[in-house]
């Protein structure tokens, strides 16, 4: 079959089995075409002689040229549990992901695994994931302010001055410590992350988050070495989670309490026992 449908009582996902990618998301009474891709920005390599020649590094995201979308066919395997449904995506030798929905849980979980980022070609790379939809967001998107206030961002604009947007990709990147979202008059897509990341909406209907970076040059802002994970020889593997929520537009975007579950999940302690344990009153 050309399509794989994965559903619980609250969420329905459709995958295109020819490409292996996500196609549509249905939840909260809404349906939206949402494609997810992974992309690579090549890190700019400068000589740091003056600011315009500064390399992409620990402090600066400065891509060289446009994004390269990883568009090889994704290998899928699907686990159809009773309460848990999982689609395991194998994107390439160093990018993979689990897309997961749970019964009675109104969100889609993306657990990504990226690395070690190859640098055999002597090029630093910055890996992002991008969610594309048909939502007409008209240049606006929203990011949190350290997990509290939600701030409206407008592509290629600043609130109090006219910006120089000659570096249009990084110039539109904002810190995302908890969530990023976009919306039109009807629908909203929110992404919640489990760690501080950079994020943006470079086109209407699109959201992207930076997942992992490995760079070969220092940016001359102070750290004095490249962000190259060289101590570990082959580079690091990072694993993390993103929650996606599609819902109706009503008031300001807010998922503050859910946001906490991502970085403050239950602590687990293990003991051997034959009997049931109880908590003292």
């Amino acid at each position: 079959q050309d399509e794989l449908t994965v559903e619980t009582s609250l969420v329905k996902l459709t995958f295109d089995t020819t490409t292996g990618g996500l196609k549509t998301v249905e939840m909260n009474g809404l349906t939206e075409n949402i494609q997810q891709t992974f992309g690579i920005y090549k890190g700019y390599r400068g000589n740091n002689g003056e600011s315009k020649n500064r390399s992409s590094g620990a402090y600066v995201f400065r891509p060289s040229g446009d994004i390269e979308i990883v568009n090889n066919k994704v290998e899928l395997s699907f686990y159809n549990g009773t309460k848990v449904k999982e689609v395991h995506q194998h994107v390439n030798e160093w990018i993979s992901q689990v897309i997961r929905i749970y019964e009675d849980v109104n969100r889609v979980e993306f657990e990504w695994l990226v690395g070690p980022i190859p640098t055999d070609d002597d090029v630093g790379k910055e890996i992002i994931t991008r969610f594309s939809s048909n939502i007409s967001s008209k240049g606006k998107f929203y990011t949190d302010s350290n997990g509290r206030e939600i701030l409206e961002r407008e592509r290629n604009q600043r609130e109090h001055f006219t910006p120089d947007m000659s570096e249009a990709i990084s110039g539109n990147y904002y810190p995302v410590t908890g969530q990023i979202s976009l919306q039109d008059d009807e629908k909203r897509i929110t992404l919640l992350n489990d760690r501080a990341q950079g994020g943006s909406s470079l086109k209407d209907g699109e959201l992207e988050l930076m997942l992992h970076r490995r760079l070969l040059n220092d940016d001359a802002f102070g750290v004095g070495e490249a962000l190259n994970e060289i101590q570990y020889g082959t580079g690091l593997i990072a694993r993390g989670k993103i929650y996606l929520i599609l819902d109706a537009v009503a008031g300001k975007p807010n998922q503050r309490l859910l946001q906490h579950q991502l970085d403050q999940h239950f602590w687990k302690f293990f003991s051997k026992s034959n009997g049931v344990a109880s908590v003292n009153k």
């Binding site: 899928l76 695994l113 004095g224 579950q261 344990a277 908590v279």
Partner: protein, 178 residues
């Protein structure tokens, strides 16, 4: 209190802007790893003493598993039979979450503090996680169940005799490789 002071001091150092943003040198990052690991392992003693007082498991081990992010737990890798999972909710409100415990592909029964069965299922760990270098490959599955926790809750995991066959639930869509 010495253990808790060490953890408190390590967490204090982690508030430095270089630690928060990852703009420290690699050797400093490794030193942060060393400090945090030592402090966390030290504070496990305090956590165990506290949980022994707060539960009826007066001689419970209350072991932490620091490799749960790669679905590995030495405490459960040989068998998760007769294992109590104590969940502590760090949030200031009750929470319901699905819990994942690394386990072998066996038929489990999970019960809550009142002995009631909690629905659980065993699912495979993605193969790229299994293929991670330095990861011990003893555990290839995770036991998943839903838990509602006010502050602390205990769940008992036991193995039932019949092995579970999960292969029939899996569908595979291979990529055409050039």
């Amino acid at each position: 209190s010495e253990d808790l002071d060490n953890l408190s001091q390590a967490m204090g150092i982690m508030q430095h802007h270089d630690a928060v943003t990852g703009t420290e040198k690699q050797a400093v990052a490794s030193d942060y790893d060393r400090m945090l690991f030592k402090a966390i392992v030290g504070a496990e003693n305090s956590a165990r003493d506290a949980l022994r007082s707060l539960t009826n498991l007066t001689s419970g081990e209350f072991k932490s598993c620091l490799e749960l992010n790669i679905s590995v737990c030495t405490f459960t890798q040989d068998t998760a039979n007769n294992v109590i999972v104590t969940l502590v909710n760090p949030l200031a409100h009750s929470s319901t979450q699905y819990v994942r415990v690394p386990a072998k592909n066996e038929n489990y029964i999970v019960t809550d503090e009142k002995g009631r069965e909690v629905f659980s299922e065993v699912i495979p760990v993605p193969w790229l996680v299994l293929a991670l270098e330095h990861r011990s490959n003893d555990t290839q599955h995770e036991l998943v169940f839903k838990a509602s926790v006010d502050k602390i809750a205990n769940f008992l995991i036991r193995v039932l005799p019949t092995p579970k066959n999960i292969a029939e639930d899996q569908v595979y869509f291979p990529a055409e490789r050039s």
